[in-house]
Amino acid sequence: MSEPIILGSPTDAELGDQLLGTAWRRPALGEQRWWRVAFGIAGALTLVLFSLITYTVTTGIGLWGNNIPVAWAFGIINFVWWIGIGHAGTFISAILYLFEQRWRTSINRLAEAMTLFAVMQAALYPVLHLGRPWFAYWLFPYPSQMETWPQVKSALPWDAAAVSTYFTVSLLFWYLGMIPDLASMRDHAPTRRRRIIYGLFALGWNGKASTWRHYRAAYLVLAGLATPLVLSVHSVVSSDFATALVPGWHSTIFPPYFVAGAIFSGFAMVLTLLIPVRAIFKLHNVVTQKHIENCAKLTLVTGLIVAYGYIVEWFMAWYSGERSELYQAWIARPTGPGAPLFWLAMICNVLVPQLFWWKRGRTNVYLLFAASLLINLGMWSERFMIIVQSLEREYLPSMWASYAPTWVDLGLFLGTLGFFSLLFLLFLRNLPVVALSEMRELRHDLEHDAERKEAAAHV
């Protein structure tokens, strides 16, 4: 067995105190300086976000840098980037659960929380980037007295269905997984006030065996459902571009290429969040070196798939014989307006993950943290390359133009980063960061394996 996934053999009680203790340890998070600074910055950026939303809704999308032909820019880049980050959480908690990758148990709740908060940022943009956001409800088939309905041949109602389904299923999966832990917190929180609050959310859980039986069946089924869902959601997001006619958009590689890119940038964000949280809450015994290494390995794998996606894009552009495709892939992107972001994407998405071939690369925590930030920067500029650069150099040379963001664009993007951090900090403070009941189950399984191995060794 390679490195253990739980160091030392903590008893259930010790596990309980350590993992639930993150919510009420002394000194409480609230008093620590770094927490107050982080919370202050995140709160300020969230305020900036909502005031810029109001300003955009009341004044018009003209405040952004969008123009004709580049009608989509920061709005849709941020949407695809955030929803991409969201997919690693479900990948870890659902797909790795089906593959019985037991190391996923200690990081699945943190990843799933990251998914929820990322999808909340993503879901903001499809409504905010509309010219008339107050009619966004026309995307849903409500009984309208105008007897007009959404047009389901377009990729945007698919997006609406996919993103809302994804958010709902992730929320249910995350909450279902947390009910037993909330029950533990209801029973062992230090103050009565906290226990009443946790009790409200624990739905009266007390670990009845018959309920566990249904619970485990539901958990397995949800994991089974979430797996095709996460693959379909980012394929649908890629269909926003794949079903279009724009040179550089309509290629069949997009669904797998976008899903791989999503999981790639998702794992980068998991690493970005996991490394500091592990240090703050000293979870080294449950989030061991093996977890970090596995995340790095999966980042490398998905990074290579993304690199393959780029190669197919260039090859198909040349192979199609269509001048506008060739010009887009071979001339417009590397040398046209916005070329620096193209090269940034290539460096960060293709070269940086190659560090993870070496063990030192996969285990040096500081290197990993830096690499994860670069990868997410690279994935953002890849979306910029796909969306904005393709629209800048389209079919008719007479309508070639260039795009530049405005301060409202940048403010909104930083605002979403702030709002995401705010939600994540609140999650760290109030909810158990690691899935306690699953860790206990894991510990007991490991013990059974050890006993069976010894029994087999004696025979």
């Binding site: 008893t11 259930d12 009680a13 309980g16 088939p141 007897e147 309905w149 959404p150 047009q151 389901v152 041949k153 109602p157 698919w158 269905a161 996919a162 389904t165 709902t168 299923v169 249910l172 999966f173 009910i179 037993p180 029950a183 533990s184 209801r186 029973d187 062992h188 009790g199 409200l200 739905l203 009266g204 859980w205 007390n206 670990g207 009845k208 065996a209 018959s210 309920t211 566990w212 039986r213 249904h214 619970y215 485990r216 069946a217 539901a218 397995l220 089924v221 949800l222 459902l225 979430a226 095709p228 869902l229 379909s232 649908v236 269909s239 009941s437 699953e438 206990r440 189950e441 007991h444």
Partner: protein, 172 residues
């Protein structure tokens, strides 16, 4: 007259042994309360596997079928506008929302079924108030047993089977 007792066991093996032992007697084993989903206890109780997945399948199919019908009814029947030279009824385009709604309704069915069947939409229940019962969500394993006759003989039997504590459930 029969009496209900709650016994606390220090670990998995103890409670599993006790359950197997009690099944031979004519005392009725009501339910076990464990801090995590322990396989041993489950095997010992030997209850029917949960039929929840079947309900989820039905929920999923209803969601998918309903979504496809709704799309066809609205887009191809009520107001069959032609876009992009595509015929109003265009099954290829309906597939995605059908799949998404199938997954959504399946997931909703799964969670709602769990809450309903597990009778989870509550804040407290009959055993919650028993003294010391909070260890059920920490590291101890509790067993609820209905005694056949008076409670006393069951109490000793549980003691012999390794129960570290036996309580009568408080009806708060």
């Amino acid at each position: 007259m029969s009496e209900r007792l709650l016994a606390e066991f220090p670990d998995e093996h103890a409670i599993a042994g006790a359950i197997r032992a009690l099944r031979e007697t004519d005392h009725r084993v009501l339910d076990a309360y464990t801090p995590f989903a322990s396989h041993e206890v489950e095997d010992a109780l030997a209850r029917r596997p949960s039929r929840l997945p079947f309900a989820v399948f039905v929920g999923g199919m209803c969601g998918a079928g309903g979504a496809y019908f709704l799309q066809w009814y609205l887009v191809a029947h009520l107001y069959p506008l032609v876009v992009g030279g595509r015929p109003p009824h265009f099954p290829v385009a309906f597939v995605i929302i059908t799949f998404e709604m199938g997954v959504l309704f399946a997931s909703l069915t799964a969670v709602i079924a769990t809450l309903v069947v597990g009778r989870l939409v509550r804040l407290t229940d009959d055993v919650q108030g028993t003294a010391g019962f909070e260890t059920a969500t920490r590291d101890r394993f509790w067993l609820a047993v209905m005694s056949h006759g008076p409670g006393e003989p069951l109490r000793e039997l549980l003691g012999k089977l390794g129960a570290s504590r036996v309580e009568t459930p408080e009806v708060a």
